[in-house]
C-alpha cells in the first residue's frame, strides 16, 4: 500500500514537474481557471437576485452546497479528470502497454496524469465556502466540524467512482465518451442545488443508484440543521463515507469486468 503510494507520487511528480516547466503559461492557466469558475457561481447569484429562497434554501445555504460540491469535484477533476480522454488510449492502443507492466491497470491509468491548473477551481470553491459560512449561523460542534471536513474527500471518492465506472464504457465503444459527462459534469451541476427540487424518481435515483445526494446534500442537512423535506431517517446524513466506500468498490469491480472483456475480445 505504501509502496503503491510512493510509485503514484513519483508518476504524478514527473507529470507535475513537466507541467510546471512553463511557469508563465501555467500561472496564466491557473488564474484563468480560477476566474472563469466564478461564472458558475454567478448563475446562483443571478437566480437569487430574482427570488428569496430556492426550494426552501437561502442563498447562503445554496452557496454552501455549491462550494462543497465544487471543491470535491474540482479535486477529483484535478486528479482523474483526464479519464475523459481515456477512449483515445484505447483507440491508439497505448492501453495495452499497461497490461505489460506488473501493476494494476486502473492504478496505472489514474496515476498517469494530474491536471494541476484545475486547482484554480478548488480555490474558487473555498472562497465561495467562505462566503457561505459568513452568512450562515451554524451551531458548530465536533460532529459538525468532522462532517464538514469529511464531506470533501467523500464527495471526491463518489465523483471518482462515477468517473471510473463511466470511463469503462470506452472498453466497449470508444465513441460514447460524452455519455459519461452526463453523470460526472451533470452530477456536479445538479449537486450545486438542493436535491429536494428534483422530481421523485430523480431523487431516488440520486440516492440509491448514483449516490450524488450523498456528496453534499445529506451532510449539509446535518450541518445546517435543516429538516429533510422528504422525511428520510436522519441516519442518511452520516453514511456518506460508507456510501463512498461502496461506490469505490463497485467502480473497481466494473473496471475489472471491463478489462476482462477487453482482454477477451481484443481491440
Amino acid at each position: 500500500m505504501v509502496d503503491a503510494l510512493a510509485v503514484y507520487t513519483r508518476l504524478i511528480g514527473a507529470q507535475v514537474r513537466s507541467q510546471l516547466q512553463y511557469r508563465v503559461s501555467f500561472a496564466l492557466d491557473l488564474t484563468g481557471t480560477f476566474l472563469l469558475s466564478f461564472i458558475d457561481f454567478l448563475a446562483v447569484l443571478v437566480i437569487f437576485h430574482n427570488i428569496p429562497r430556492l426550494g426552501g434554501w437561502s442563498v447562503h445555504e445554496v452557496a454552501f452546497l455549491y462550494a462543497t460540491s465544487s471543491i470535491s469535484f474540482a479535486l477529483c477533476d484535478l486528479a482523474i479528470g483526464h479519464l475523459d480522454l481515456f477512449p483515445q488510449r484505447i483507440r491508439d492502443g497505448t492501453f495495452d502497454v499497461l497490461l505489460l507492466r506488473p501493476r494494476g491497470t486502473l492504478y496505472q491509468v489514474l496515476a498517469s496524469e494530474l491536471t494541476l491548473r484545475r486547482v484554480g477551481r478548488v480555490v474558487q470553491g473555498l472562497i465561495v465556502l467562505g462566503y457561505a459560512l459568513s452568512g450562515l449561523s451554524i451551531e458548530w460542534s465536533a460532529g459538525r466540524a468532522a462532517v464538514l471536513v469529511l464531506m470533501i474527500p467523500t464527495g471526491c471518492v463518489i465523483y471518482g467512482s462515477v468517473w471510473v465506472a463511466g470511463a469503462c464504457l470506452a472498453f466497449w465503444t470508444t465513441e460514447g465518451g460524452e455519455f459519461t459527462n452526463a453523470f460526472t459534469y451533470g452530477g456536479n451541476f445538479l449537486t450545486q442545488y438542493p436535491i429536494n427540487i428534483y422530481s421523485a424518481w430523480a431523487r431516488r435515483f440520486l440516492a440509491y443508484v448514483i449516490p450524488m445526494a450523498f456528496v453534499c446534500y445529506f451532510p449539509a442537512l446535518y450541518i445546517l440543521d435543516k429538516p429533510d423535506p422528504l422525511g428520510l431517517p436522519s441516519i442518511v446524513r452520516f453514511v456518506s463515507p460508507l456510501v463512498a466506500g461502496i461506490a469505490a468498490l463497485v467502480a473497481g469491480a466494473v473496471w475489472r469486468l471491463a478489462v476482462r472483456h477487453y482482454r477477451s475480445t481484443g481491440s
Binding site: 503559461s25 476566474l35 472563469l36 448563475a43 443571478v46 427570488i51 428569496p52 465503444t173 442545488y193 427540487i197
Partner: protein, 262 residues
C-alpha cells in the same frame, strides 16, 4: 455556390459519421435539460413571471437552449487555432479558398446535423415530460431564420478567438475566456431577463445574445411585427460586423505569417 454546398455537405458528414458520439451527446444534453428545468421550476414556485417569462416559457427555454448548444457550437471550437499552431494553415492559405469561407460553409453544413440529431431528440424527451410551448407557423419560420443567423454570428466569433493563435503561442487562455464570457452572455446558462439591470445592459451591448437568447425569444413569440424585424436585423448586423472583423483578423494573421514565417 456549388463549392459552398460541397463544403457544407462535408461539414454535415464529418459529424454524421459518428452516430454513437452524437447519441451519447444527445443523452448528456437530455440530462442537463432535466436538471436545468427542475432548477428553474423551483425558481418559479416563488414567482409567476420573471422578465416576461412564465414557467412554461422558461422550461421551453431550457430545452431549446440544450438543443442550440451544439447547433451553434458554443462550447469551444479550436480547429482553426490547431491548424495555425501545427502549420497546416500555410497549405490552406495557399489555396484559392479563404479559410473563413471554408469554415463558414462547413459550419452551415454541420449545424443542421447537430440541430436535427442532437437538438431535436432531447427536446422531444422534454416535450413528453413537461408542458412546452410551441410556435405559430410564422414564428417557426422566423425561428429558423434566426437560427441561421445565430450560427453565422457564432462561427465568426469562434473564428476570431481562434485567430489569436496567429499571435499567441498559448491561445488557450484567450479561447477559454472568450468561451466563458460568450457562454454566460448568450443566455445559455440563464435567460438574460433574469440578470440584474446592470448585467442585462452589458448583455444587450454584446453580440452573444444573438447566439442563443434571440432565437429562443423568436420561437417563444416574444417579438412581433416591427420588433421581430428589428431583432433579426440586429442579428444580421452582428453577423456582418463579426465576419468583417474575422476577415480583417485573417488578413492580418496571414500578413504576419508571410513576413515572419510559421
Amino acid at each position: 455556390m456549388r463549392l459552398d454546398w460541397e463544403l457544407a455537405r462535408r461539414g454535415y458528414r464529418r459529424y454524421s459519421a459518428y452516430p454513437a458520439a452524437t447519441a451519447a451527446g444527445a443523452f448528456t444534453n437530455t440530462i442537463f435539460g432535466f436538471v436545468q428545468a427542475y432548477i428553474l421550476l423551483a425558481v418559479y414556485r416563488h414567482r409567476t413571471d420573471i422578465g416576461g417569462y412564465d414557467a412554461a416559457d422558461v422550461v421551453t427555454y431550457v430545452w431549446l437552449a440544450q438543443a442550440l448548444i451544439m447547433t451553434v457550437y458554443v462550447f469551444g471550437w479550436y480547429e482553426l487555432a490547431l491548424r495555425i499552431r501545427d502549420g497546416s494553415i500555410a497549405t490552406d492559405l495557399a489555396r484559392p479558398l479563404s479559410p473563413l469561407r471554408y469554415w463558414l460553409a462547413f459550419d452551415l453544413g454541420r449545424a443542421p446535423y447537430h440541430f436535427l440529431f442532437r437538438g431535436i431528440p432531447p427536446f422531444i424527451v422534454g416535450a413528453f415530460v413537461f408542458d412546452l410551448r410551441y410556435p405559430s407557423p410564422g414564428d417557426a419560420i422566423a425561428f429558423l431564420v434566426s437560427l441561421f443567423l445565430a450560427v453565422v454570428v457564432s462561427l465568426a466569433f469562434r473564428f476570431l478567438y481562434n485567430a489569436a493563435a496567429f499571435w499567441l503561442l498559448d491561445y488557450r487562455g484567450v479561447a477559454n475566456i472568450s468561451i466563458t464570457v460568450s457562454l454566460f452572455f448568450s443566455g445559455m446558462i440563464l435567460p438574460i431577463a433574469f440578470f440584474p439591470g446592470w448585467l442585462k445592459a452589458i448583455a444587450h451591448v454584446l453580440p452573444f445574445q444573438s447566439v442563443i437568447q434571440v432565437p429562443i425569444d423568436v420561437y417563444l413569440g416574444k417579438h412581433v411585427g416591427a420588433s421581430l424585424i428589428g431583432v433579426l436585423a440586429l442579428q444580421a448586423a452582428w453577423a456582418v460586423a463579426l465576419l468583417a472583423l474575422a476577415r480583417a483578423a485573417l488578413a492580418a494573421g496571414t500578413r504576419k505569417l508571410v513576413i515572419q514565417g510559421g
